[in-house]
Amino acid sequence: MCEDCGCSAGSVQIHQGHDPQPNKTTTSLEVPTPSVRHLDLHAKILEHNDRIADQNRALFHQQGWLVVNILSSPGSGKTALIERLAQDQRNNWQIGTIVGDLATDNDAHRLGHAGVSAVQITTGTACHLEASMVSHALSKLPSKPWDLLVIENVGNLVCPAAFDLGEQIRVVVLSVTEGEDKPQKYPAMFKSAQVVLINKTDIAEAVGWQRDLAIANLQQIAPQATLFEVSARTGAGMHAWYAYLDQCRQGLNGPLSRSQNSQVLQIGRLSSN
């Protein structure tokens, strides 16, 4: 709404001048000043990204791919989790990966050695992946009937939260070495997660991980998220996570019903071991 005259019609409202002296006459010697105009806009800053994310999502749906976006701080074990997934499920699922890092293609090489197709996005100075980067990377991915496409985002618990990539499931990884209060410190990220994986549980005792406190924190900040406690190194807890993915794959032809969601939630809550 215009702060000067209060009008608000239309998506872009233009006000010529708002001359405080509208009846003032201009002599031929005066140079007219360019008219000052006030534009009311309703422009979403991420509209371009969101439009491409919607295109990605439509493609994923059309192809029948389950697409997972994995986010975390650096060093929480995202690549190790994908390596373990690839090894454990190599006889069951065709898995493709898109990996984002500021520099190096080390992660793509690691995943290649684990037997999955991997496309590296090197973002340079960008601290997050955007939908257009994923769209471009898709053209480099071998054409296969993927069962699962895993996008490993840039290690960062702030910026990637704002960018929809078109994924069906957003997974945030929290490792036991990072501290139980990470959800409080990065609420926007944890509130955007459908799944939280607590990783490196094999060393929880050694680092004094306070499990009950961490889970209470997560349940307060991210009550929507399904939790799994896993170890990419030993494989502990991973089967419950795979069962969840399998259920999501089976639900690809339509959104999960409320009862299916409840079932998935129970699997998640029972995943500790």
């Binding site: 105009r37 534009l39 422009a43 979403k44 704002a162 409080q184 900040i221």
Partner: protein, 113 residues
């Protein structure tokens, strides 16, 4: 520091609108930024100074309106403004994930000449 790329996108949108109006200068722009948008207003201000240098928005003013989070409680059907990052209904103490506002990231107004 995604505020720089966001502000570059914002400036591109603003310059497009200004050009459509045949304007030469942008005097100020106004943004609405939700508390849960993942954007830090102070970082936006710095980013604005960086990206507007040498453009039609050089020396322009940036106004940021912070949009508070408003939640909806599905148990007692009321909207409420949470006091922190734990979204718990003040009446029935249920947790909620139903957000009615707080993720906004919009360019809402500008002045050009």
């Amino acid at each position: 520091m995604h505020e720089v790329s966001l502000m570059q996108t914002t400036l591109d949108i603003a310059c497009d609108h200004a050009a459509q109006q045949g304007a030469q200068h942008i005097h100020w722009i106004k943004l609405r930024v939700g508390e849960l948008s993942g954007v830090i207003p102070e970082a936006l201000t710095l980013a604005f100074e960086i990206v507007t240098t040498g453009t039609m928005a050089a020396n322009a003013r940036l106004e940021v309106e912070t949009v508070p989070v408003i939640c909806h409680c599905s148990a007692c059907y009321q909207d409420f403004q949470p006091t922190g990052w734990v979204y718990v209904c003040p009446t029935c103490h249920q947790f909620t994930t139903d957000l009615r506002q707080g993720r906004e990231l919009e360019l809402t107004a500008m002045e050009v000449s």
